[in-house]
């Protein structure tokens, strides 16, 4: 089982590297968005209610990371849908391997890519003058929560791909990614959000993930936001992986 999962994960990573058009947006767009947000709204840190931060870049880094991880989920879904369209998925199903390995293989790959995303954005932030106040421990907390969240978003993408069976429909969830992101506190303090984002963000698990990613960057590691963020990320990962397994079963029944 482990060998099969690792083999499928390796294959998924190689596939992603062969199609840079699906990996590039995970870095390019969050980076550009980060640059525009920081450059355009740098003065907002002086607003009443804004938490104490060294600079707006430090605050925005977690938002960019969350956005990148969400796009990673879309990318995972598209890759999975392309395998279904191309017939590889059917050949995989016909082979004598545990079915659950099909789901887990791609999620392991997504987790590894998420780790690279986290390290990349932290390095980018440090290069442009941000500081991880939580130090090495803070960086590790960000890495763990980022990987778990990345796997969760990947599982959501995979579930949609297994249901939709074509890449263009999965691609169509992109606006939904924007909606979920804007309806959270990923980019701005919850206290300063306007309606309806202020209300929705309280119930949006992404807010807790983003705040947990941000906390070790702008302050020393605190237990409460880290646990809340990890719980939200793990909840998303477990629920979405379960849904992915159910979607796989449904797809096998249809085949």
């Amino acid at each position: 089982m482990t060998r099969v999962v690792l083999a499928l994960a390796r294959r998924a990573i190689r596939g992603n590297l062969r199609r840079p058009q699906y990996l590039a947006p995970l870095v390019i767009f969050p980076t550009l968005f980060l640059a525009v947000n920081v450059g355009g709204l740098t003065e907002t840190t002086s607003l009443e209610g804004f938490p104490e931060v060294r600079g707006f870049l430090d605050f925005q880094l977690a938002g960019a990371l969350t956005q990148s991880l969400l796009l990673g989920g879309v990318s995972t879904g598209i890759a999975c849908a392309l395998e279904i369209e191309g017939g590889f998925f059917d050949r995989l199903v016909a082979s004598p391997i545990p079915r659950v390995a099909i789901v887990l293989g791609r999620l392991v790959a997504t987790g590894l890519i998420a780790a690279v995303q986290v390290l990349l954005f932290l390095a980018l932030g440090l290069a442009f003058g941000a500081e991880i106040v939580g130090g090495v421990l803070g960086g590790l907390v960000v890495l763990v929560i980022g990987v778990v969240a990345g796997i969760g978003f990947g599982a959501i993408g995979q579930t949609i791909a297994l249901r939709a069976k074509n890449a263009s429909t999965v691609q169509g969830i992109f606006p939904l990614v924007l909606v979920i992101l804007f309806a959270s506190s990923a980019f701005f303090p919850r206290a300063l959000l306007s309606a309806p984002a202020d209300t929705i963000s309280r119930f949006n698990p992404l807010s807790y993930v983003a705040e947990a990613l941000r906390d070790p960057i702008i302050s020393t590691v605190s237990l409460a936001p880290s646990i809340e963020g990890l719980a939200a990320a793990a909840g998303i990962a477990l629920a979405a992986t379960g849904l992915s397994a159910v979607a796989l079963r449904g797809r096998l029944r249809d085949a």
Binding site: Q21, A24, G40, F188, S194
Partner: protein, 264 residues
């Protein structure tokens, strides 16, 4: 047939080719809705999202009496132009990959007409996301820019869609693969957002203020924004038109050169 009559017949045939290419591009909405619809609603989601998240930024001195929601709607217009222009390049790359574009070049139509059809489709298609955004913006209480302000905004937005389409077409003809999509999209992203998109110029960070000052999309944005935040004046309109003329001239020339290189 007299020479003017022949010329008129030639022009009408070329317009027919342009029209056919525009119709084909518009058909994409029904042919590949999963890929096309996000481009229609994304600018609206972007504007509403940004207004909800960064809305309190208008408390900063520098915004004056303009609320952030109204300030950001024109950016949505230009984003619609950006998305549509980039999508035109991606669609062309797909046509090249599938061999359809090579078949198109075999038809007895001048290369420039084919290019005009592709670019005109971008200008017209951007009206869909812009129209959707405008209706939603009015519904949530954004200030009506006036008929003149709206017309100026539409002309400038369509012009920018054409300019970005020329850029994306150049990239598509050069790289001939859909894998170049991020390059086309990020080009339009940088053009539109590295301007006083989120805040007046005096509130931008120094580096962004410098880029915004030299970015030719900045006067286009000012032209689109003027009706939403105040009165429409010729002084705010002509720099945008001039910048667009330059952008279309440069990227159009590059696209024509790319097409000739591709054909040969």
């Amino acid at each position: 047939m007299t020479r003017p009559a022949l010329r008129r017949a030639g022009v009408s045939r070329q317009l027919a080719v342009v029209g056919a290419l525009v119709r084909r591009a518009l058909n994409e909405l029904s042919r590949v809705p999963g890929a096309a619809i996000p481009g229609v609603i994304a600018p609206t989601i972007f504007v509403i999202g940004l207004a909800s998240v960064f809305g309190q930024a208008d408390r900063l001195a520098g915004f004056g009496t303009v609320d952030f929601q109204t300030f950001i709607v024109p950016v949505g217009f230009l984003q619609a132009a950006g998305f549509t222009g980039a999508a035109t390049g991606v669609n062309l790359a797909r046509d090249i990959e599938r061999g359809w574009f090579d078949r198109l070049l075999l038809c007895p139509a001048p290369r420039l007409t084919v290019l005009a059809g592709v670019v005109a489709s971008a200008s017209l298609r951007c009206l869909l996301p812009v129209g959707f955004l405008f209706v939603v913006a009015m519904a949530i209480g954004v200030r009506f820019p006036g008929v003149d302000g709206l017309l100026v905004a539409l002309v400038l937005t369509m012009g920018l869609a054409a300019a970005i389409a020329c850029f994306a077409v150049t990239v598509a003809l050069r790289l001939r693969t859909q894998q170049a999509a991020p390059l086309m999209q990020s080009g339009s992203f940088v053009g539109v957002l590295f301007t006083p998109a989120y805040a007046p110029k005096e509130l931008l960070a120094g580096w962004l203020e410098t880029i915004a000052t030299v970015n030719p999309v900045t006067p286009v944005l000012a032209g689109v924004r003027q009706g939403f935040v105040g009165d429409v004046t010729w002084g705010e309109t002509w720099p945008g038109l001039l910048a667009l003329t330059g952008l279309i001239g440069v990227f159009g020339a590059l696209a024509v050169r790319g097409l000739h290189r591709y054909s040969s």
